[in-house]
């Protein structure tokens, strides 16, 4: 999952620019200048020209403001300031959380099969004879595939005795575990939300950064600078993200404008206890297994693609959900902002009354930059609502959830009954695997599933590389800091 490159930095730079203008109270006045500021005239172009780079930045700004790019006419005819005005007046964020920058998207092939120079222009031409759509013809040098006729069946690749035909992937489609991304008739990529599990793998997979999140950063900024209170609910994965302490992070969040800071590992403790109790109940009543329930992308995949497994998914709510409800009870008037590594959480948050908005670590990073806060030089501050257990804090690594459940079973003397199975990283095959487990062929009785390989610390919204994140998180968990 983890891909860190120029694209991701550019995305963060855009978000920081938007947030910075907001903090400076000149969003509408200066937002039209962001593309030229980020791509100055003398800069090295990433595409055909500086103008195209700027246009793509402009569309990225639109997504940062929380809008999709599907309506081409609207995108073409509106100024960024028009979008800014609409964002400032908006009451609730959009339900569909992803969009495509078509201009950036066009770099990808229309068809996945390509005849290379290795073609010997043989007499037999099995590619031409076997193509069911008559899409292949040959000139004096080699065979060629007609993109308008090809249906990507792949028969030609299998037939060629010279291995001259290659498969050229479309990275976002390839990365999607649910087969939710495809090109429409006009060659534009589209997401089928009936299939999408909101895992966010497509965002990091696209080398052109064409898949964009519709950010809720404007909503959060409005809350931070408004008269009401705002709570930051920080996902446990955050402990691996930054080169400073959690207490400094807590102080940094307050400096941005958050009034309360609550660690979501508190909710993870509740999730673990609930799952452990349910596990015992299920085993006692003769169930063969139980699946974890904290990864929203996998739970969505079960609902949409592996319904046979649905009855095995634990009824425990997610750490975010428990923490948000605790926070709401304690600070009923505050706006709850979950800050995590996850895109699926944004979707989950939209249907949880106690979660108002969701930010990624990248967006949090952008807020720090916009406010000019160097967190390493912040003083320290405690969390509100107390501290979580080391097990709760260890939830965001693969194996962490099962380990927390095991620890609780240990206290009840029943840990020997537990045989955990890990699905570490969700892909196209995982859906099949869940269906196979549901048919009674599971190798264990607690199925821990994390959509991101390595766990949440490798999510689509992270900043730190996985190695750094895993070490730093372990350090924090082991320190048992209170």
């Amino acid at each position: 999952m983890f891909v860190d490159n120029r694209m991701t930095y550019l995305k963060r730079e855009v978000m920081a620019a938007v947030a910075s203008l907001f903090f400076g109270n000149k969003l509408k006045e200066e937002i039209n200048r962001i593309p030229t500021r980020i791509i100055p005239r003398n800069s090295v172009s990433h595409r055909c020209c500086v103008e195209k780079d700027r246009e793509i930045i402009r569309q990225r700004v639109i997504a940062s403001l929380g809008f999709g790019l599907e309506d081409e006419k609207l995108v073409d005819e509106s100024l960024l300031s028009d979008f800014a005005e609409k964002a400032l007046d908006r009451v609730s964020p959009d339900k569909q959380i992803l969009s495509f920058i078509d201009e950036a998207c066009k770099a990808c092939v229309r068809v996945n099969y390509y005849v290379t120079e290795v073609c010997r222009n043989c007499v037999a031409k099995p590619c031409i004879t076997n193509c069911p759509k008559g899409a292949i013809s040959s000139d004096e040098k080699k065979a060629n595939i007609d993109g308008m006729k090809c249906v990507n069946c792949g028969l030609c690749l299998k037939m060629c005795p010279y291995h001259a035909i290659v498969y050229v992937p479309v990275p976002c489609e390839e990365a999607c575990p649910a087969g939710a991304i495809s090109k429409n008739a006009s060659g534009k990529e589209e997401i089928d939300y009936n299939k999408c599990i909101h895992c966010g793998k497509c965002i990091r997979a696209c080398p052109f950064g064409a898949v964009v999140e519709k950010s809720q950063i404007i909503e959060v900024l409005k809350s931070l600078t408004g008269s009401g209170k705002t709570t930051a609910l920080i996902a446990p994965a955050i402990a691996g993200q930054f080169p400073f302490s959690m207490k400094q992070l807590s102080a940094g969040l307050r400096e941005i404008g958050f009034d309360y800071v609550v660690e979501v590992a508190l909710g993870a403790d509740v999730t673990a206890h609930t799952e452990a109790e349910e596990f015992i109940e299920r085993m006692d009543s003769g169930d063969s297994m139980m699946g974890t329930s904290c990864c929203p992308a996998y739970v969505e995949a079960v609902k949409k693609h592996a319904s046979a497994f649905e009855k095995y998914v634990s009824h425990a709510k997610t750490p975010m959900s428990y923490t948000a409800s605790m926070t709401r009870e304690k600070f009923p008037d505050a706006v709850n902002v979950f800050i995590g590594p996850c895109i699926a959480k944004r979707h989950e948050g939209l249907s949880d009354d106690n979660v108002d908005y969701v930010l990624t670590f990248e967006e949090l990073g952008a807020l720090f930059i916009a406010k000019g806060i160097d967190v390493s030089s912040c003083a320290e501050s405690d969390f509100d609502l107390g501290h979580a257990s080391p097990q709760g804090r260890n939830f965001p690594v693969s194996g962490g959830v099962a380990a927390a459940v095991k620890k609780i079973l240990q206290d009840e003397g029943r840990e020997s009954e537990l045989t955990p199975v890990y699905i570490n990283g969700f892909n196209k095959k995982s859906i099949n695997l869940l269906n196979i487990y549901a048919s009674g062929k599971s190798p264990g009785n607690l199925i821990e599933v994390m959509s991101c390989e390595g766990g949440c610390i490798c999510g689509p919204g992270v900043i730190a590389n996985p190695k750094f994140a895993a070490n730093k998180l372990k350090e924090y968990v082991d320190s048992k800091e209170v």
Binding site: P40, P243, D374, I463
Partner: protein
């Protein structure tokens, strides 16, 4: 021979805009450079505050020379050319 000192800014702006990846610099150094350089992380060097429009984080210092928009490759090729 005195080692070349590479100072990587780990201030928040640099870290978020690419500095996080620079912390792995030592793993990517070619053998001939490994013993010639010393890599240190530093608190915010303050360069983002008064940077020119086209000089962006992450900032890295190679001895006293400043590299902006630093990447692992950019740092390595800069040292190699010295």
């Amino acid at each position: 021979m005195e080692k070349i000192k590479i100072t990587i800014c780990t201030g928040t702006a640099c870290y978020v805009l690419g500095g996080a990846a620079l912390l792995e610099l030592e793993d990517f150094l070619p053998d001939e450079l490994k013993f010639k350089v010393e890599v240190v992380g530093s608190a915010c060097l303050g360069m983002c505050k008064n940077a020119l429009p086209d000089s962006k984080p992450p900032f890295v210092k190679v001895d006293n020379e400043v590299i902006h928009s630093a990447t692992v490759q950019k740092i390595i090729s800069y040292i190699s050319q010295r």
